[in-house]
């Protein structure tokens, strides 16, 4: 699903967001992207949905080399990807229904199907009673669930989540993670950027660790279960 080969992301001024990152994610994988703040987690996610272009290297997403993708094809790529942002990125003047529906409108789904799918998604996420409310009337947890609903309502092949639980209390964080895990169980490839150790402990999936823009390890859950001296690091 995702292949990154020797990817650099260098910003104006010469600082690096990512350096020589190589990574392969198979279809149906669930991967935690971890590392301290500024490690490059968000930069990596932004590369995957075409918000940034790498300075060097190649990136393939769903079989398409997005480093060579013309700018006009970027929206088409993004329609195959669900993205959950740490700051939710909801439209403040739109209702919950409209915030979720926009992803389907952009995908060109019919209005009747939009109604059905949005209603069904909001019901699944316990937001049906909030359907006509605007984001400012919702709690942080509810807003995060709306953002999650928007990312999942299109049944994306790939879900990218940037600190999806960063602003939430532990109980709400687990709610959101359960929703994401449910999407993974239904076949969606998931990449979650987080530095929350509780999540990493509870959901034992492969971890990709970034530090200073470099990929320092990529281990399977089994490897994490073993003492460090037995678990060989590997570059994916």
């Amino acid at each position: 699903m995702i292949q990154m080969y020797h990817v650099d992301l260098r910003y104006a001024g010469g600082t690096y967001g990512l350096r020589d990152v190589s990574l392969v994610l198979e279809k149906g994988d669930f991967v935690f992207l971890t590392g301290s703040s500024g490690a490059g987690k968000t930069s990596l996610l932004r590369l995957l949905f075409g918000a940034e272009s790498p300075s060097a290297g190649q990136i393939l997403v769903a079989g398409r080399n997005i480093t060579r993708l013309p700018a006009s094809q970027i929206p088409q790529l993004r329609r195959q990807i669900g993205v959950i942002f740490q700051d939710f990125k909801l439209l403040p003047e739109r209702t919950v229904f409209e915030n979720v529906a926009i992803a389907l409108e952009i995908a060109g789904v019919s209005r009747s199907e939009i109604r059905t799918r949005v209603w069904s998604m909001l019901k699944r996420l316990g937001l049906a009673h909030r359907i006509d409310h605007k984001p400012r009337m919702l709690s942080g947890g509810e807003q995060q669930r709306v953002a999650t609903a928007r990312a999942l309502v299109t049944d994306p092949a790939l879900l990218l989540a940037d600190e999806p639980t960063g602003n939430l209390d532990p109980a709400l964080a687990l709610d959101i993670m359960d929703i994401i895990a449910d999407a993974h169980a239904r076949g969606t490839t998931v990449v979650v950027a987080t530095h929350d150790p509780a999540l990493l402990e509870r959901y034992r999936h492969r971890r990709v660790v970034l530090d200073g823009g470099r990929l320092v390890s990529a281990k399977s859950p089994e490897e994490y279960a073993l003492p460090a001296r037995h678990a060989g690091e590997r570059r994916a």
């Binding site: 918000a51 970027i74 929206p75 952009i106 060109g108």
Partner: protein, 306 residues
Amino acid sequence: MIDVHSTRRIAAALRAGARGAGERPLVFALAVATMAAGLLVLGAYLLVIANLRGVLARAGAELRLVAFTELRGAEGDEPVAALAAKLRAQQGVASLRYVSPGDALSRLRGDLGQDAGALEGLDHNPLPGSFELAPAGGARDPAALRGLADRVAAVPGVTDVRWGEPWVEGYARAVRIAEWIGAGLGAFLLVVLGTIVASTVRLSLHARADEIAIQRLVGAGAWFVRLPFCLEGALQGLAAAALALAILRGLFALGLPLLGDALAWLLGGQPAVFFGAAESAALLALGPMLGLGGALVSLVSLDERA
């Protein structure tokens, strides 16, 4: 090729445009008022130009070439009809009228007025029979009239042709100047109006920058973002054009009785006329086109990757 998904995307974007116009009534009203003011100035200017062109067109319609002949009035009707047929066959002649030597003398008497007694001593009528030729619409410029005069002069039986060349030159110059000034001022006003619309859309874009950024992040293409603004611009333009036309019509109806004498003098005694249905429709159509154009100009730099 537009597939069903693209059609639905376009429909959704247009719905968003209509919704956007309704959600910011004050911004919409301000944009409409600004555009309407500009269109009002443009409309008033076009109305003046249309009326002046009417004056010039009427003056052009009164243009005549006079072809003097060898006819002396005693030949009977047959030679007159034969010559008339030859003249009518000339390219650029719309109609003609025969002025017999007797009619010409009567006109001269009328023109001389109190001095007409000077003609009493004549033992015979010295004036020849002549034809007054009205040139066709496309043959009223000096070059075409010169060509027509040459052709008419070459017709056997015609002795001389007069066509008031200095007057025609002046007339043609007046038409040219009116058209150049009209085109220049019209273009200037259109650019000013386009700039107003583009600025209004840019303000709207700025106000909705966050919304646009979020739309882009969830996969909206450039046209999904642009279309609502285009529709909003077109709606603003249409409303502004309708408003400007209504105000202009009202001002015309109110101002006509007050300015009646001055206008009659300016327009050579002809009554001022308002736009016909076609001109009104064109002014109405100009509004949405301007709105659309202004929106497209301000949206042209929208980044696909942002």
